[in-house]
């Protein structure tokens, strides 16, 4: 039922249909980005694609919102 993705090299379980943001939050990873100016930790906030706090990169692609990106088996997620 569950499959695995990696986040900065660390394995994280995900379920079909889950977003990467939901999988991270469920795994107890709630902060995965720091802000440019203050280095403040950020993770999910709005959860529905509005706030852009949860930015990630999947398989080396451009930054996208973790709360909208559907997790797929083997996805390699990198954070900043």
């Amino acid at each position: 039922m569950t499959f695995e993705i990696t986040v900065d090299g660390r394995p994280v379980p995900a379920r079909p249909g889950q977003t990467i943001g939901a999988a991270l939050h469920a795994a107890g990873i709630r902060a995965w980005r720091t802000t440019r100016v203050g280095g403040r930790p950020r993770g999910l906030f709005c959860g529905i694609g509005i706030c852009f706090d949860c930015l990630i990169s999947v398989n080396g692609g451009p930054v996208e919102r973790a709360c909208l990106a559907e997790a797929r088996p083997g996805d390699e997620v990198t954070t900043s």
């Binding site: 379920r15 249909g17 902060a31 203050g38 993770g43 999910l44 709005c46 706030c51 706090d53 930015l55």
Partner: protein
């Protein structure tokens, strides 16, 4: 390229009802939605059989199945712009897809309206809608110990859902006077009963529901560890405060309708009962731009029942308008539907009046409290902009950079406008989603063919 009779943007209750109504009357319809499946923010449904269904979901699911038989339903498509053509519109989606249509129905819904307070950008602080999306959309309980705070009836299903899913909910804190609605003549409508049902569910689980209380600060090193809960006076000034340990906060102070596409096309806006800008529509749900209709939250926040009725009225009006310029104000729409819409709008207005945002929240902020999360602009930055002469959100933005980041002010436009001292202005975003240069190039290439 196929030119549809109608393109609907948004697959929530309003969009699906509008698309289905028009398709049933013989129009060639396409519905475009950003989600994995239709449903919008209200009907978030996973393919899990043992999940208790959201109220009204079966009915919505039947509508979606009927729609899929009669129309093209495009999911996972984020619309970033709609452009006008000689004979209609082009709806541009991220990744290069585009659809052409003669008419457009904007049914883009709404998102949470959070208020800033010290620590609100700590991980673990979520919007109420975000916590609900995690639970209903992904089966993830937002935290082990979750405080729910804000204003409005939406806090109740969020708290009840979290408690039922096994989260410990130390309290639900409603900043307004609570069930002021219980004394309202519109009590007869079933929503007040729904609220009473949630309150009973919370009481069964011994979850305290406190009115005139709010979370005024969040604490933690790198993640949320506790919140300050304050007792408020009627203007939301802090009377007394205490610390409540928790790992998660779900917070929201009403909703912001998503107007970007309507504003792009030049549709007129009006202030809703609480000053929130919404798209102006006539009795037939037509905006001020010919060929463009709107339904649901973009015309005024009113919930899923009103959204569905508005969608149906729009669908009927669009079908009646086919070929000729519409002669009457709401041609082809049964009176009973219009009467129901009037009743539900009165209820929505009563809710807005019962759950306002009071000015006292400004006193919860400190100089260093982040107001714009994207550009990390603190309260002091907004104040500086005011001292430099900014008297509205737009000039405050130019001077402080608040609202200029990734989210383009979707999160902070409301508090910034309040703090700058001007009224709420409709958003002016030439693009509704961050786009790549390839998307923009696509748009340029397409223009000559009209």
């Amino acid at each position: 390229m196929t030119v549809y009779d109608l393109a609907v943007v948004g697959g929530g209750p309003a969009g699906v009802a509008g698309a289905l109504t028009a398709a049933q009357r013989g129009l060639r319809v396409v519905l475009v939605d950003s989600g994995v499946r239709p449903g919008g923010q209200y009907f978030r449904h996973r393919d899990v059989p043992d999940e208790p269904a959201t109220k009204g979901f079966e009915r919505f699911a039947r509508q979606v199945r009927a729609l899929e038989d009669r129309a093209d339903v495009m999911t996972r498509r984020q619309v970033w712009a709609v452009t006008r053509e000689d004979d209609g519109f082009t709806v541009h989606c991220l990744g290069g897809a585009a659809v052409r249509s003669r008419r457009l129905l904007i049914a883009t819904g709404a998102h949470d309206r959070p208020l800033p307070f010290p620590g609100w950008d700590l991980p673990g602080v979520l919007t109420a809608g975000g916590a609900q999306a995690l639970l209903k959309g992904h089966g993830v309980v937002a935290g082990r110990r979750v405080v729910v705070a804000g204003t409005g009836p939406f806090l109740l299903p969020v708290a009840a859902g979290l408690a039922a899913a096994g989260a410990e909910v130390p309290g639900v804190y409603e900043a307004n006077g609570g069930l002021g609605l219980a004394r309202h003549p519109l009590l007869a409508l079933d929503k007040a009963g729904e609220a009473a049902g949630y309150l009973a569910a919370l009481a069964r689980r011994r979850v305290p529901y406190r009115t005139r209380h709010a979370v005024v600060a969040a604490h933690g090193d790198r993640e949320l560890e506790a919140v300050t809960v304050a007792r408020l006076d009627r203007d939301w000034n802090v009377l007394s405060a205490r610390r409540v340990p928790c790992d998660t906060l779900a917070t929201g102070y009403g909703f912001v309708p998503q107007l970007d596409l309507g504003v792009q096309l030049g549709c007129a806006t009006r202030p809703d009962a609480d000053g929130t800008p919404v798209l102006s529509v006539d009795a037939a749900q037509r905006t001020t731009v010919p060929g463009v209709w709107a339904a649901g939250e973009p015309t005024g926040v009113g919930g899923r029942h009103l959204a569905e009725i508005e969608g149906r009225v729009a669908g009927l009006s669009i079908a009646a308008a086919r070929g000729t310029a519409p002669a009457t104000r709401a041609a082809g729409v049964p009176d009973v539907l219009l009467r129901r819409r009037t009743r539900m709008r009165a209820f929505a207005a009563a809710l807005l009046a019962a759950y306002p945002v009071k000015d006292g929240w400004r006193g919860w902020l400190r100089d260093d409290t982040v107001v714009c999360r994207c550009e990390e602009v603190p309260l002091a930055g907004i104040r500086e902009a005011r001292e430099l002469g900014a008297t509205d959100a737009r000039s405050a933005k130019l001077l402080s950079r608040a609202g200029m980041g990734w989210c383009q002010g979707r999160v902070c436009a409301y508090p910034v406008a309040c703090l700058a001292g001007g009224g709420q202005a409709a958003p002016r975003r030439p693009i509704a989603q961050p786009v790549t240069l390839a998307d923009l190039a696509e748009l340029t290439l397409e223009e000559p063919h009209d």
